[in-house]
């Protein structure tokens, strides 16, 4: 098997995640989809690392994880406070920009 398949898998997961972001209304699920996209990227990075024979890709993946963690922390905090004020976790309810 050609390791390029990992990249195809990564692309597939990324696309699924992105579509999920677009069609789900629950903020938590949206967040999960974002995590999915990040993980898909990480897989690509790791594959690239293997492809090029150096560890830089893994380092980037590592950083991605750290950033994802930070993002999840803040994001979930936002969801919680949003839920407190609106009693809903739907992203469509947070539409003050609406006409």
């Amino acid at each position: 098997m050609n390791p390029v398949n990992y990249l195809y898998l990564s692309a597939l997961l990324f696309t699924i995640g992105a579509t999920g972001v677009l069609i789900r209304r629950n903020a938590i699920v949206v967040f999960m989809c974002i995590e999915l996209m990040l993980n898909a990227c990480n897989l690509a990075f790791v594959t690239f690392s293997r492809m090029h024979g150096n560890l830089d890709g893994q380092v980037i993946a590592f950083f991605t994880m750290v950033v994802a963690a930070a993002e999840v922390v803040v994001g979930l905090a936002i969801i919680v406070s949003l839920f407190r004020s609106r009693h809903s976790a739907s992203v469509d309810d947070a539409s003050l920009m609406k006409l």
Binding site: A18, L22, D92, S95
Partner: protein, 631 residues
């Protein structure tokens, strides 16, 4: 000596500036300042005149270059004055009659609180008129040309609180502007033809230019002359201009400004001589106006308007003469000068009558005034005799020459023009006799006005009668002085040139014919107005009379076609500007608004919606990148 020329203009100009900017302080002495400065100009004029007389005929042209006015690449206009026999004649007429009328106005305007300003305007007029006749190029002439138009505007509208006066002033200026347009086009044509518009180079190189261009220039000059000299078809303003104070009518609308057109034509004689077609048009205009003015003059009951019709007619004579070319130039100017005397005298007389009659102008409310104002009667009477061409008086010499010259044109044209001039003489005799009879003879016809004030006709004060007397002298003797021994001819010939026409009829025949028509005209008038009492209310009159009362319907034509048409045009243009030109823009704005209103719906506030656009955008970017790679 040359350096004095500028002073001619400077004196009245100074007067105008001082009087108009001086403020109330000068109210007490303003009129004397104005009179003094205009007289000063006259004195300078006389000094220059004696100087000129002392020189040979060839050296009688003085030039004074003051400064370069408009220096632009290929275009040079200078402020240069030129004093030759022609302009000298005008200078004397303008400053002389002008000073007399200043003096007259001191009395006439005594009770007007804005007398200072009146004198300021008069001085302004003198300055502008002098610039007009002294200018050495057409552009400077144009300055004077419009300057007199402005002064005329200010003076016609002097009693601005009367809407009729304000309207008349505006009308005069506008009609004149149409003429001015002709003058400016003429100057432009000259510039393209000759590269300059100074008298000397233009007039001496006429021979090198094509006749078509010269005809164009000449016709445009004629248009200008028509505007200023109230010739058909631009004559309509003169009657209304009588709204101004009477001294103004005398000075500007009889003696001086309205003759500027004749000056222009005579001055540009070389151009007209080289454009026979244009000359023919000039004579036709002159002949038509001559009859037109005379007919209008017959029908008017307003003494000043009757005189205005007469003025139009007399200037028609001058234009006719000027159109005849070298045969007539000298006589045009001669008639202009004598006319300046007697018409100014007549107007001042009319003013004196009005002064005594509580500013009543309707001749049907006069009658028998000779007993009440003898000086006015005599001076007016002498003016009357002069204008109808009574043998020995001024008008006889000048008008007779013009009729002769018209016949001398030769051919059918000569017969037609001469006939028209003769007919005009008859009508002149008729309407002037009518004025005379209705005003000074017969029974008194005035009544108390609505306030119960009955006019108490009385002779005018000395300041008014003296100018009338002086002008009466001019009316009687000027023609003789000029005409006997052809003095005037010799004086002007170097400038205008002269040639004797070959008249099909002898001079004596013409004179006799003139006498006959004169008697006929007077006789008809006496039969109609002298033998039986004049009705105080105008009878309905024939169709021609009614048309003549309305200035032969020319004003109605103007009103319907130009005023109404213009109003409709501007109103519809305002509408077009608002709905169409602005509408296109506003429509674009509105459709933009509509479009954005629709696009705004894309901004639905849902984060997911924005995310789709973002994602789509990213996809397109990736696609674009890949495509670029592939290509």
């Amino acid at each position: 000596m040359e350096n004095l020329i500028a002073l001619l203009v400077a004196a009245p100009l100074l007067g105008a500036v001082v009087l108009l900017c001086g403020g109330r302080r000068l109210d007490a002495v303003g009129h004397w300042i104005g009179t003094a400065l205009s007289s000063a100009s006259f004195v300078i004029g006389v000094v220059l005149f004696t100087d000129l007389l002392g020189k040979n005929a060839e050296h009688r042209t003085l030039m004074q270059h003051l400064w370069t006015w408009v220096p632009v690449e290929g275009f040079q206009a200078d402020v240069t004055f030129r004093l030759d026999q022609l302009s000298m004649t005008f200078v004397l007429l303008i400053t002389g009659v002008g000073s007399l009328i200043h003096l007259y106005s001191v009395g006439y305007m005594e009770h007007d609180e804005r007398r200072r300003r009146f004198f300021g305007y008069l001085n302004l007029f003198l300055a502008a008129m002098l610039i007009l006749v002294l200018a050495d190029n057409y552009l400077l002439l144009y300055v004077g040309w419009e300057g007199v138009g402005l002064a005329s505007y200010l003076l016609i509208g002097f009693w601005q609180h009367k809407p009729s006066a304000a309207t008349a002033a505006k009308k005069a200026f506008l009609v004149n502007r149409v003429g001015d347009m002709g003058l400016s086009i003429a100057i432009m044509l000259m510039f393209t033809t000759f590269g300059t518009f100074a008298f000397g180079p233009v007039l001496s190189h006429v021979g090198d230019a094509s006749e078509g261009k010269l005809t164009g220039i000449a016709l445009m000059l004629l248009l200008a002359a028509c505007g200023k000299s109230a010739q058909v078809p631009l004559q309509s303003w003169l009657g209304d201009a009588m709204e101004g104070p009477t001294p103004v009518s005398a000075l500007i609308h009889a003696a001086t400004m309205v003759t500027a057109g004749v000056y222009l034509i005579v001055r540009s004689g070389a151009i007209f001589n080289a454009a026979p077609d244009a000359q023919l048009v000039v004579t036709v205009v002159g002949a038509v106006t001559l009859l037109f003015g005379a007919i209008v003059g017959c029908a008017k009951d307003d003494i000043k308007k009757a005189l205005a019709g007469s003025t139009m007619s007399q200037i028609g004579y001058m234009v006719l003469a000027a159109g005849l070319g070298p045969i007539g130039y000298v006589f045009a100017i001669m008639h202009l000068v004598t006319h300046g005397f007697f018409k100014a005298g007549l107007f001042l007389g009319a003013g004196s009558v009005m002064h005594g009659m509580n500013d009543e102008v309707d001749m049907r409310k006069y009658g028998g005034l000779r007993k009440y104002m003898p000086v006015t009667f005599i001076t007016f009477g002498l003016g009357y005799l002069a204008i109808i061409g009574f043998p020995g008086l001024s008008g006889f010499f000048s008008k007779d020459k013009i009729i002769e010259a018209a016949f001398a044109k030769g051919g059918t044209e000569g017969w037609i023009l001469g006939g028209a001039a003769l007919l005009g003489a008859a009508i002149t005799a008729f309407y002037m006799t009518r004025v005379m009879l209705m005003t000074f003879f017969g029974e008194k016809r005035w009544q108390p006005d609505e306030n119960g004030h009955e006019p108490h006709p009385h002779e005018s004060p000395r300041t008014m009668t003296i100018p009338m007397i002086v002008l009466a002298f001019g009316s009687v003797f000027a023609g003789g002085i000029f005409g006997i021994g052809d003095r005037f001819l010799h004086w002007l010939e170097p400038i205008t040139g002269h040639e004797e026409g070959n008249s099909p009829v002898s001079a004596l025949t013409v004179t006799l014919a003139t006498m006959v028509v004169l008697v006929v005209g007077v006789g008809i008038a006496w039969a109609q107005y002298g033998r039986r009492p004049v009705p105080a209310v105008a009878p309905r009159g024939s169709l021609l009379t009614r048309a003549a009362r309305r200035d032969l319907l020319q004003d109605d034509f103007n009103h319907v076609v130009l005023v109404r048409g213009g109003e409709h045009l501007t109103r519809s243009l305002v509408y077009v500007d608002h709905t169409l030109v602005d509408g296109v823009v506003n429509g674009t704005a509105a459709s933009m608004g509509g479009l954005s209103g629709r696009l705004r719906k894309l901004q639905n506030g849902y984060a997911r919606s924005y995310a789709v656009s973002m994602f789509g955008g990213a996809a397109i970017l990736v696609a674009a990148t890949l495509l670029m790679r592939a290509v």
